[in-house]
């Protein structure tokens, strides 16, 4: 399987709200930040200090927010050191943290990351310190193809698991952590979904014309990038191969939902506002679903109903809960497939 590694460059296809592609420098910074942050966050959960506010370091902040999601009740604090008084406005740009900045300020926000902006680096900081020099040194020691292309196999398989989740429609949506049935579905269908060659993620014709498809696929890449850290957290103990994943399914699903919310906010989505809320609450059945669909398919103003806390998701859109649970149970199977 390792002979068939599919390496692709998906970030080039991302577009902003106005339908314009991002600058070459921005895209390069994303690639650099991605490999660097994944490497630095490969240990246990620690707070992060980002020393600097250059475009590269703001891209690093973006990727720390995307990947610093651990199964822990304590949020990861991201401290950004900047002398710029308008740094929040800078962070609000689509290439950096976009809507995440304002979402983190909402009262009662229960995401698993916190953003702290300071003028001076705090003394005696305990955690991971990231500097521009550190990033550049790291990148200079890497082959360009390892930085500017991505092995998309895990993302492709993650998308297949989403398809499987859509196919299995008689799961108890409300009893989401009844993993017996999820595990059974995976057992029964994994040969159909995970067997055979892994096709490339990028379909050029579709990607050029459908910005939302691109965002969803890049979303699968971000999700798949966290598989290894989740697998590290699940190791240990004397439990069976899949049993430990089943036992921790609730914690994993909560963490995955928090990661997904952060990712969607960074990708330009926003939560539903008061007027939209009042409108959908008096729509019922298929009309309500159609309204949600309409909101999330407008590339100029992307809105997603599921951008909310895990607890709210359970009461607002419980049928979506299965996707997180399914994907988390499938991680060991996907990793096995990749390492065959």
């Amino acid at each position: 399987m390792n002979k068939n590694i599919v390496r692709e460059s998906p970030f080039e296809y991302l577009k902003d709200r106005n339908g314009n592609k991002f600058s070459e420098e921005t895209v390069k910074n994303w690639y650099k930040a991605r490999v660097y942050v994944l490497d630095r966050l490969s240990g246990d959960q620690q707070d992060v200090l980002i020393d600097g506010d250059s475009p590269l370091m703001l891209s690093v902040a973006r990727h720390v927010a995307l990947y610093a999601h651990f199964i822990s009740k304590k949020p990861t604090v991201i401290t950004l050191v900047s002398q710029n008084d308008n740094i929040e406005d800078e962070l609000r740009k689509e290439e950096y943290l976009c809507n995440l900045v304002d979402y983190l300020k909402r009262p009662g926000c229960d995401l698993d990351i916190e953003l702290n902006i300071v003028k001076e680096a705090p003394d005696g900081f305990q955690g991971i310190i990231m500097t521009e020099k550190d990033v550049n040194d790291f990148i200079n020691n890497k082959k360009p193809e390892d930085v500017y292309t991505i092995d998309t196999r895990k993302a492709v398989l993650a998308e297949k698991i989403y398809e499987l989740g859509a196919l299995i429609d008689n799961l108890p949506a409300e009893d989401i952590h009844c993993t017996k049935r999820y595990a059974m579905a995976l057992e029964a269908y994994e040969y159909d979904f995970l067997r055979g060659e892994i096709h490339p993620l990028i379909d050029k014709a579709q990607w050029e014309s459908n910005p939302i498809k691109v965002k969803n696929s890049v979303s699968s890449i971000y999700s798949a990038d966290c598989f290894e850290s989740r697998a590290r957290a699940m190791k240990g103990g004397k439990k069976g191969r899949y049993e430990i994943w089943e036992q921790n399914n609730e914690a994993l699903s909560i963490s995955e939902h928090a990661r997904w919310v952060v990712e969607r906010l960074i990708m330009g989505y926003r939560p539903i506002n008061r007027n939209e809320r009042l409108e959908y609450e008096i729509l019922f059945g298929q009309k309500r679903l159609d309204y949600f669909k309409k909101l999330k398919s407008n590339p100029h103003d992307l809105v997603h109903i599921d951008i909310c806390s895990y607890r709210d998701l359970r009461r607002i859109d419980p049928n979506s809960l299965k996707y997180d649970s399914f994907l988390m149970l499938a991680i060991p199977r996907i990793l096995n497939k990749i390492n065959e």
């Binding site: 008689n170 799961l171 009844c178 029964a188 159909d192 008096i282 009461r315 607002i316 419980p318």
Partner: protein, 339 residues
């Protein structure tokens, strides 16, 4: 439907049973080929294993087919199970050469009939016990309600014949287990553990029809005013353009309560949330609330239920509506005195 993964058809233990079955069939074929006699018990074992294999595989397939709503395979599995039972009965008749003329058959038949009559409750009990346990319909510690016996409590003991339930009024009930197969019983455990959409509140309030009216300009302005909203914040849950002169206060209140409930952190929007007006009666018009509360605790549920009732009592007046109460004899006395 996507093709079933082959892995499940050769699932661990069924593979072992299938191999044993093949070995037994090979022994029978070999003895038959060499004209050796074949023990009827060996034949019975082989037949039983075959039926067991069909049951097991069909059971697993039924579980898999049940993962999707539109799945016809379940019916075929059940037909196969039924056929295998028929094959087993026919096989036993054939293996033991049971036919009308055999005298021992008559004796066995009479004894069997008598035993069935004498031990019918026990037999039903055993069947029910296996049914309930095999399908995980009843476990120790489950909260169950058996309306027929007025039983409502926690299962403490399950035997082949009886179920012991510790009622919430601290009494203990013993009921025949066969009742749980023949009669209706409710297992509340899933709901109690918070694994469903929530605990249902189904409340009706009687609103005095005389208080239903269209808003005057002053009333509409008051509801939209900053001062009023500082106190009650109704604009958070009600579109501003709905509040206007001529709007029906009953409609506004229904809308308001609907939006308010939709946004309460303990109220589930699924499977349904209803705020509706029911039939007009001579006392007034009924306001019906059908709400699911997400909780895994009975006391917490009761607390929320009370909060909801209190909120309706408090907020209904903001829209000029009034709850109805039948005049008490005390009121009538005062009225008469005034006359």
């Amino acid at each position: 439907m996507k093709r079933i993964g082959k892995k499940w058809l050769i699932h661990g233990y069924w593979l072992v049973v299938a191999m044993l079955l093949i070995a037994l069939l090979a022994v029978i074929a070999w003895r038959s080929f060499n004209n050796y006699s074949i023990s009827p018990w060996l034949s019975l074992l082989t037949l039983t294993m075959f039926v067991g294999l069909v049951w097991g595989v069909c059971g697993d397939l039924t579980n898999i087919f049940s993962l999707r709503k539109q799945e016809g395979g379940i019916t075929w599995c059940q037909i196969l199970i039924l056929c295998s039972i028929g094959i087993w009965i026919a096989g036993v008749v054939w293996i033991f050469q049971i036919h009308k003329s055999s005298s021992s058959t008559i004796v066995f038949g009479v004894i069997g009939g008598l035993m069935t009559v004498v031990f019918q409750d026990k037999i039903k009990g055993v069947v029910t016990f296996i049914h309930l346990r095999a399908h995980h319909l009843l476990n120790i510690g489950d909260w169950v309600r058996v309306p027929k016996y007025n039983v409502d409590g926690e299962v403490r003991r399950v035997t082949l014949t009886t179920v012991t339930i510790y009622n919430w009024d601290t009494t203990t009930s013993n009921i025949p287990i066969s009742t749980l197969h023949a009669d209706h019983f409710v297992n509340v455990q899933y709901m109690a553990e918070g694994k469903t959409y929530g605990w249902r509140i189904d409340k009706t309030f009687l609103v005095d029809t005389e208080s239903v009216h269209t808003l005057s300009k002053e009333e509409a302005e008051m509801l939209k005013s900053e001062e009023f909203n500082k106190q009650h914040n109704i604009l958070e849950y009600l579109p501003e353009d709905e509040i206007k002169e001529g709007a029906l206060n009953a409609r506004l209140y229904r809308l308001y309560l609907h939006h308010y409930l939709m946004n309460q952190p303990d109220v589930s929007q699924m499977p349904r949330l209803l705020v509706q007006w029911l039939d007009q009666q001579k006392e007034g018009i009924q306001l019906h609330l059908y709400v699911f509360i997400i909780t895994n605790n009975l006391d917490d549920f009761d607390w929320h239920q009370s909060l909801l009732v209190e909120y309706v009592m408090q907020s209904i007046g903001w829209f000029g509506l009034r709850l109805y109460q039948l005049p008490m004899s005390f009121d009538e006395m005062i009225e008469e005195a005034n006359v």
